[in-house]
Point group: C3
Chain length 342, copies 3
């Protein structure tokens, strides 16, 4: 990805609170402290890497305001309140250059039912399929090979990337971003066991996705048995996540990669589930709960708790138990010794 901008342009974008040193050429890349070469922009986002600043070969470095080292020759330090956010602003500028707005209109290879309503400002890319009664809102972008089922609806400014499937009757609000391979509205997993066979329970509900939701590649959100599976406004879901039928995810949650949430569970607002965490069905996960990676949640969790492990338990308890667990060999020896003395 070719980038090219001057120190002056950069300073205009990030408005640093201070600067040390100078760099006169164009910036032509962005890289981590360790990987950066002459011509690269870098930054200190995580205090863990503080040591790496002095060794970095980057030409311009975004650093926290309290960083007190001195730049090398031909190196420019820019001091900012939040170097990570500052870099984000820079990347945003570059992003606009790299991914230009798509041109409105429908590609000739798309297959669109005549009863579907596509806003004239929307972009329907090659090889999309839009079934009867579906609605595509203003400025939404179906990039390529998207499937939109019967009566599904998509609001404004959504972006569906290649290969997304939006099932019948499901609804996306505004500014929803679905990465490649996302499936919204697959059937919930419900069966009745009758005479030695699993008999399908019809799944006739829908999925409703709120404003500003983003869902990562190949994640799957099942339609409700009846009523709705809900992904609340502003929630961000990573890749390969499974959300089962009738789950209600609140607003502004974070579900990391490979998380699974079983049927009918309610996840309240601002919950963060670490990678590969699993939540059993019919539970309530309170507002602001955090769960560590691989946590296995089998009971309701009170608001604000931080839980880890399987079965998931409060962090401090669990850490203490982990430490004692590692001391089991010692404990066995101590009990051996006590017994010997008698």
């Amino acid at each position: 990805m070719q980038v090219s901008f001057s120190a002056d342009e950069l300073i205009a974008w990030v408005k640093p609170s201070g600067r040390r040193g100078d760099f006169v050429d164009k910036v032509t890349g962005i890289a981590s402290l360790e990987e950066a070469q002459t011509g690269d922009l870098s930054f200190l986002g995580n205090p863990k890497y503080r040591q790496a600043v002095a060794q970095s070969r980057a030409s311009i470095l975004l650093l926290p305001a309290d960083y007190d080292g001195e730049p090398g020759p031909g190196q420019l330090y820019l001091l900012c309140d939040n170097p990570s956010a500052a870099l984000g602003m820079v990347c945003s500028r570059i992003e606009q250059q790299l991914w230009p707005k798509p041109v409105s209109g429908v590609h000739s290879s798309a297959v669109i039912d005549e009863s579907a309503k596509v806003d004239p400002s929307a972009t329907i890319g090659p090889l999309c399929v839009i079934e009867a009664g579906a609605i595509i809102g203003p400025h939404s972008h179906l990039q390529a090979r998207i499937f939109v089922g019967r009566n599904a609806s998509i609001g404004e400014d959504c972006w569906l990337m290649p290969g997304v499937v939006l099932g019948a009757e499901c609804r996306l609000a505004n500014r929803v971003r679905l990465h490649s391979g996302v499936v919204i509205g697959s059937d919930g997993f419900g069966y009745e066991f009758v005479q030695g066979r699993h008999q399908k329970v019809p799944q006739i509900g829908i999925v409703e996705v709120g404003d500003d939701v983003e869902i990562g590649a190949n994640s799957t959100i099942d339609r409700a048995r009846f009523s709705r599976t809900v992904i609340g406004e502003g929630t961000k879901i990573d890749n390969l996540v499974q959300v089962a039928h009738n789950v209600v995810i609140g607003k502004h949650c974070i579900l990391c990669a490979q998380v699974g949430v079983a049927g009918s569970t309610v996840v309240e607002d601002y919950v963060v589930l670490g990678g590969q965490a699993g939540v059993a069905g019919h539970l309530r996960i309170g507002k602001g709960v955090k769960a560590g990676g691989q946590a296995g949640i089998t009971t309701d969790i009170e608001p604000g708790q931080f839980v880890i492990g399987y079965p998931a338990a409060p962090y401090m308890n669990e850490r203490r138990l982990q430490v004692l667990h590692r001391r089991l060999p010692e404990l066995f020896k101590r009990v051996d010794a006590l017994e010997t003395r008698h």
Copy 2:
């Protein structure tokens, strides 16, 4: 999803064993006890929610025969042996209205090799690809953007949803339902380590999927190294599940979301694997085994066992150990005290 039916229609469908109260308008929705509003049908499927019946604003409630409360004004209770199954019957009726049978025939945008055999009663939707020698049976429905590889075969009344990939030579029996993004017949994961490199072991077997199998969105079933990977009749597989090469899954099993089964393992009939459970390779999981969510199975399991944890062990033992584990702080203190006394 718009629904509209009367109490009389409902009674004709579910044939309740008793009724209390009355509701004269049309039912216009289905919702859980807690979410239901006037006009909604609800039900008590899980005894856990029994308390919620009296507060529910649903207009008609399907309740177990032994439920002894009284409906509010304008509310109708219908008593049934199995309220959950009764609701299933209602949803079935609605499903038929919502998802009408597809019209037979081949969409003009589909790309079908002339040597493929497509039954005239089958439906091949837009942008499907069917390679040489493939066979599509009567009444099967390839919804859109399906890929069927060389010499693959699909039986009667199957339904493949948008984006499914059925690899070369693989076989689906009858009434198989594959949700969006399912991949059948990807290569098994097999390599020989030769001179510092992983050399690919050819994977030339197939996948055979039995009658009435359903497989959830974005699940993957690898073809055998040679011979067959088998999914037995009536087995139901949830989303994002991985079944490796040469695995044999028996009949009427349940594999919940994100389960993984490693190569050459045999899973006998009626096994239930909870969400995110993993099974190592070359094992035998006996008939009727149940494994809890996130269980990590590393040894053969005898028929009928219920196992949990990692490494997976019988439920009662494991629960007892979990309880004792949580008492470790106390145990350490008791041993401290014993030592002090000497």
Copy 3:
């Protein structure tokens, strides 16, 4: 899959070091020791199945050189240094017959931007989309329904199977094999929490995939926040694996199914991660590390270690702790007894 070859052909392919018995008909199948019938070729690859050789009904068996049993009537034993590798050679031969080389050229249904460069020896199958500036190298095969984004590049002899998405600017080197549903270059999962909302951090980096990499069905590799996410030469990745932004995977690693690696982690060469293992972000996993299935890695791991469990710890320690953990009931009783005595 129909196969047909004689014992003489087989002997010419595998060059056995010894033989016992004879089989005069054609081999018409390949099967495991247990499943094999007359006419099948089988082999002893795993010493665990040694007992099954004598009972096997296979007509020809590939066995280790030190196997000392005698074949039944009409049965042929071929002794080889590595029966598994020998079978691989046989399968390779069959593979070439079964999956003939595709014919070069572009299918009429593919949608290719005029600024894309497709080598004349490449094969672009039906319903592929190739965006502006993309490059497809010699002899590469895009089987069907592939998406290649702006300025992405694919080297020589790559094979992309139906449904693959290769995002803008991402790069595949040579002989890369991507199975169906793989997504390369989805956005990394990065947000800044600002005024109660998760604000997207632009993800403007790329993914670089080295020579001879193979990636399994529905796996996802995120593009870097900036700079590169890297999959090193010769690394093999199984199905449903997640690799987050800015991760660097070394050369010749093995990532089994459903593994997840969080952002910015470095996995050095020759690492093996078992199925469903998870690795937290910003870690370094040393050269040659092995992690068991479901391991949860939360700290850096020194080269050459074998770790299991959560949090992942060296195998020998962890196994010992598991054994002591199972003896907790006994330990509690012993402490009870000690207390009683005082």
